[in-house]
Symmetry: C2
Subunit: 482 residues, 2 copies
C-alpha cells in the first residue's frame, strides 16, 4: 500500500484552517497516488481539547466539519474525539480496522486506545498527539507489527507537540522519521518497511530539543493568538537574555521591542550587557530609567510608611513599575509581553507578583535555572548571541544595593537538584534530608508550599517537563467561538 | 440510639487541628452519653482534597491520623478518602453498615456513594461535604428512611461549605437543622425522629445566604492562610464598597486598612462617598493621590509614546499604579489584599490586568453585578452602611474624563441576563440571538472568549455559582507541608 503521512500543525477549534490543511494534504496524497492518508490525532479539531469535549456546541461544530472530511472521497486514518478511525467515502463508514489495497489488515489506534489483537501482518497506524515531555519518554512500539506513528506538531498554548512521526518495522526499529518541530509530509510504501534499513533515532541532544520546543512554542502562541509583535524587559540577567534569544529565533528581529529599565540600584554592566546583545541583532530598544517612578512612589507613600525601614515593599515597587511600563507599551502598540520567570524562581516564589510575573505566556516557567544557562550556551554555540558576561555574572535582581540571588537562596546547583527531587521526583522532606542539608530542605519546601498563591497568578508556561508548576493552559484567542 | 452530630470546620491538611476538633466533639458526645458521633465528609483531612488524594505522602500522613481516631475508642461515622465508614474501637473494624444500640441497621453513605438497599427501619447517615452552589440545589432524601445529613461547614480557599446539617424523617421532611455558616453540635434521639414535628426549611433568602457565604469565605480564607489584617482600594464605586462591607462583617473594623487613590479624573463624590462609608465604621484610611505617579509615568514614556494619542494605555497606567500602592502596603504591613472584580466584569474582561485584578482572593469574582447591588441593599437593610449615593450613581472606572461603564458595555441588566444565559445556561450564540440584540450578542460572546487570558490571571474567587469563571482553588498557606 502507498501510505501518505501528513504531520500537520492544527489549531484548537480553528476548524476552517485545519480543514484547509487536511484538504491540501489530501490533494498531495492523491497527486502521489497514495491509497490512504494518515493524520495526527485530533488533526481536525486541534488539541488538546480538554473541557471542549464536554461542550455540546463544540461537538456539533466538530460533527459538521467531520462530515466535510467524508465528502473528500479519499480514505483518511485519524484520531477524532477519542476514537481512532478510518474514514472512507463518508463518515458513516468510519471504522478502525479494514483491509486496503493488499494489506492483510490495518488497524488504527489512538493515544489512549488499547491495541486490539493483531497478526504480525497487520499494519498499525498510531494516530498521536503526544506532547513534548511524553514524546521524550515514549517507548518504541512493541506490537510485533509494522507501526506508523503519526504525530501532531506545533504549539497550542502551553502544549507543545514535537512532530517527528516515525515508521517502525515489526521489531520496533525506526526506519524513517519526519521532521521535528515542523510540518512534514511523506509517502511510505508499506510493503518496503520490512526490508528498509533501520535509522538511528534522530532526537537531538536534550538542550537542542528544549531550545527547538520553546522556539516553536513562542512562534505558535503568537501566530495562533494573533500577535505579530512581542516585547520584554531586558534586565542584563540570564533569563531575559535567553527569552530574547528564543524570541529572536522564533520571529526574527523586526517585530521585537525591548525595554531596558534601570533603577538607581542597577549596575552599569546591566545596561552595557543588554546593549551588547540587542545592537548586533538589530532589535529596537529603549532605555527608560525607573528612578523617577520609584522616587515618586516612595514620596506618595511617605506618610503611610513614615518611620518604617525600607524592605521588600520598596524592592517590589521597582519590579512593579517595570511591569507598568511594559504593559503600557503593550497597550499602546499591541506587543505581546513575554514573561521571563524560570521554574526555579517560580517554585520558591523568588520574583515580584504583578511585576516580574507579568506576561501573556511564560517561556521559561517550566525550565530550571541550570537549564536556562545550558540554553544560553547552546544559543551561543556558533558565536556569541548572548554576551558572555551575562552568562558569567552572579544572578541578581538589583532591587537593593549589592543584592545577589544567593543572599536569599542556596546556590542554583543545590537549589535545582533539590527542587528536581522534590517536584519531578516526588520525594518527601525526610527523603530529601538524606541527600541535602536539613535546614535547607525545610526552608525550600516551605517556600515551595507558601508560594502556590504566587504561581497561581503567573501566566501559563510552555510545558516542557512532566511536572509543570505554573502552566494553566488557555484556549487561544483566535480559537473556536461558541 | 443517641446520635451526636458535630458540624465542624476542618482545614485542608491541618491534621493536628482537625483531630483536636474531633477529639473535642468525642468528649462532648461522651459527656452527653451518645452512642455514636457523626462527622462531615473528610472531617479529618479537610476538603476539597483534589490532587492530594493522589499524593502518597498525604495518604501516609492521613493514615497515621486516621489510626488516632480508632484509638479514641468511641464509635465515629464519617467519610474518609471517598469511603463512608463507621470506626468502632479501631480502624481495622471500619465498615459502613452496622447495628448499634437498638437500631435495626444503620448505613453510612458519602457524597458520591450509591445508597445500598435498605429497609424502612434503616437509619441512613449521609456524611457530606456539599459546597455552597450544590447545597442550594440539593434534593431532600428520597430513601424512605430516616436520614441524618451531616454537612461540612467553613471555607477552604474557593470552596465554601454552608453547614446546615439536617435530620429528615422517613418521608423526607426536615425535623431539625443545625446552624448555617457556623460550627454546631446536636444530640439526636433517633427513635424520636419519626414522631418529631417537621420544620420549615430554614434557608434564608438567596441574597442573605450569599452574603453569609461570602463573609464566611473571607473570614476562613484569612484565618486559614494566617492573615489577620486586610486592605483594599476604595474607589467610591459599588464593588469595593460591598467588598469592604463584607470584610467588615467578617473581621470587624480594627484590622482593616483602606486606600483612597483618586486621580485627576476622579470625581469629588468618589472621595466624599468613600469617606462617608469608612468614617462611621471607624476604618483606618489614607488618601494617596495618584496624579504624580500617573504624570511621572507619562513623562517616562513620552519619547516612546511621542505623537500617539492617549488611549487605553494611559487608562491602565492609573489602575496599575493603584495596584502598585496597594501591594506596597501589603508588603510593608502584611495586609492581605482583597480583589474587588465582579463576575460580569471578569466575564467580559472589563478591568485592568495587574491593576484591578490584583489580590489574593476575589470576593465577588463569582457574583454578577446585579447581585452586587442586591448585596449592597441587603447590607443596608437595618441602616445605611454603604452610602446610598454609591448605590445610586452610574458605574464608572474614572480613567478618563466623564467615563461611564455604559460607554463600553450594555446596561448591566442586559449584560447580566445575557451572561447568565451564556455561562450558567450554556446557550449558543444562535440561541442568545433569539433573546437579545444580535450585535450585542456577538460583541459580548467575543469579549468573553477573548478575555480568557485575563481571567486566567485573576485570583481565585469564592465559589458561589455552579459555573465559576475565575476560580483556581489553591491549597491554603498553612495547609499540609509535604
Amino acid at each position: 500500500m502507498r501510505l501518505a503521512i501528513a504531520q500537520i500543525n492544527s489549531t484548537v477549534g480553528n476548524f476552517e484552517g485545519n480543514l484547509s490543511k487536511i484538504k491540501a494534504a489530501v490533494e498531495r496524497a492523491k497527486a502521489q497516488n497514495a491509497d490512504l492518508l494518515a493524520l495526527p490525532n485530533n488533526a481536525l479539531t486541534g488539541c488538546p481539547l480538554d473541557a471542549l469535549t464536554a461542550d455540546k456546541r463544540f461537538e456539533a461544530t466538530s460533527r459538521y466539519y467531520f462530515d466535510q472530511l467524508g465528502s473528500l472521497q479519499f480514505p483518511i486514518a485519524m484520531g477524532h474525539n477519542g476514537h481512532a478511525i478510518i474514514i472512507t467515502n463518508s463518515n458513516t463508514e468510519a471504522c478502525n480496522s479494514i483491509k486496503l489495497n493488499q494489506e492483510q489488515t490495518m488497524t488504527v489506534v489512538g493515544d489512549s486506545t488499547a491495541l486490539p489483537p493483531s497478526t504480525p501482518n497487520t499494519l498499525v497506524i498510531e494516530t498521536c498527539s503526544t506532547d513534548y515531555p511524553h514524546f521524550l519518554s515514549q517507548n518504541t512500539p512493541s506490537t510485533g507489527c509494522r507501526t506508523i506513528r503519526v504525530n501532531m506538531v506545533g504549539g497550542n498554548s502551553s502544549h507543545l507537540y514535537p512532530g517527528g512521526s516515525t515508521v517502525y518495522n515489526a521489531i520496533g526499529q525506526p526506519v524513517q522519521q519526519l521532521a521535528l518541530f515542523a510540518e512534514d509530509f511523506a509517502l511510505i510504501d508499506t510493503h518496503a518497511i520490512a526490508t528498509a534499513q533501520p535509522i538511528p533515532t534522530s532526537n537531538k541532544p536534550r538542550i537542542a530539543m528544549l531550545h527547538d520546543a520553546l522556539v516553536m512554542g513562542i512562534r505558535d502562541y503568537m501566530a495562533k493568538s494573533g500577535f505579530t509583535q512581542a516585547a520584554l524587559g531586558l534586565s542584563g540577567g540570564i533569563d531575559s537574555a535567553v527569552v530574547l534569544a528564543l524570541l529572536h529565533n522564533a520571529i526574527g528581529p523586526k517585530n521585537i521591542r525591548v525595554l531596558l529599565m534601570p533603577s538607581q540600584y542597577s549596575s552599569q554592566h546591566s545596561i552595557d550587557d543588554s546593549l551588547a546583545m540587542v545592537r548586533p541583532l538589530g532589535i529596537q530598544h529603549d532605555i527608560v530609567n525607573i528612578a523617577p517612578l520609584f522616587d515618586t512612589a516612595r514620596q506618595s507613600l511617605s506618610d503611610i510608611f513614615a518611620g518604617r525601614p525600607e524592605n521588600v515593599a520598596e524592592e517590589n515597587i521597582q519590579a512593579r513599575m517595570r511591569g507598568v511600563l511594559l504593559m503600557a507599551l503593550s497597550n499602546k502598540f499591541g506587543h505581546i509581553i513575554l514573561n521571563t520567570t524560570n521554574k526555579s524562581e517560580a517554585a520558591v516564589g523568588y520574583g515580584t507578583l504583578y511585576g516580574d510575573t507579568n506576561g501573556a505566556i511564560s517561556v521559561l516557567g517550566d525550565v530550571y535555572k541550570n537549564d536556562v544557562y545550558a540554553l544560553a550556551r547552546y544559543i551561543n554555540r556558533n558565536g556569541e548571541i548572548i554576551p558572555q558576561n551575562i552568562i558569567d555574572k552572579a544572578p541578581s535582581a538589583e532591587l537593593r544595593p549589592n543584592q545577589k540571588d544567593s543572599d536569599s537562596l542556596p546556590p542554583y546547583d543545590v537549589l535545582d537538584a533539590l527542587l528536581y527531587d522534590l517536584i519531578e521526583g516526588g520525594m518527601s522532606s525526610s527523603e530529601l534530608k538524606q541527600k541535602y542539608d536539613s535546614a535547607t530542605v525545610e526552608r525550600i519546601v516551605k517556600l515551595v508550599w507558601r508560594n502556590v498563591y504566587k504561581r497561581a497568578q503567573i501566566p501559563a508556561a510552555l510545558w516542557v517537563s512532566a511536572k509543570p508548576l505554573t502552566a494553566k493552559p488557555l484556549p487561544l484567542v483566535n480559537s473556536w467561538l461558541p
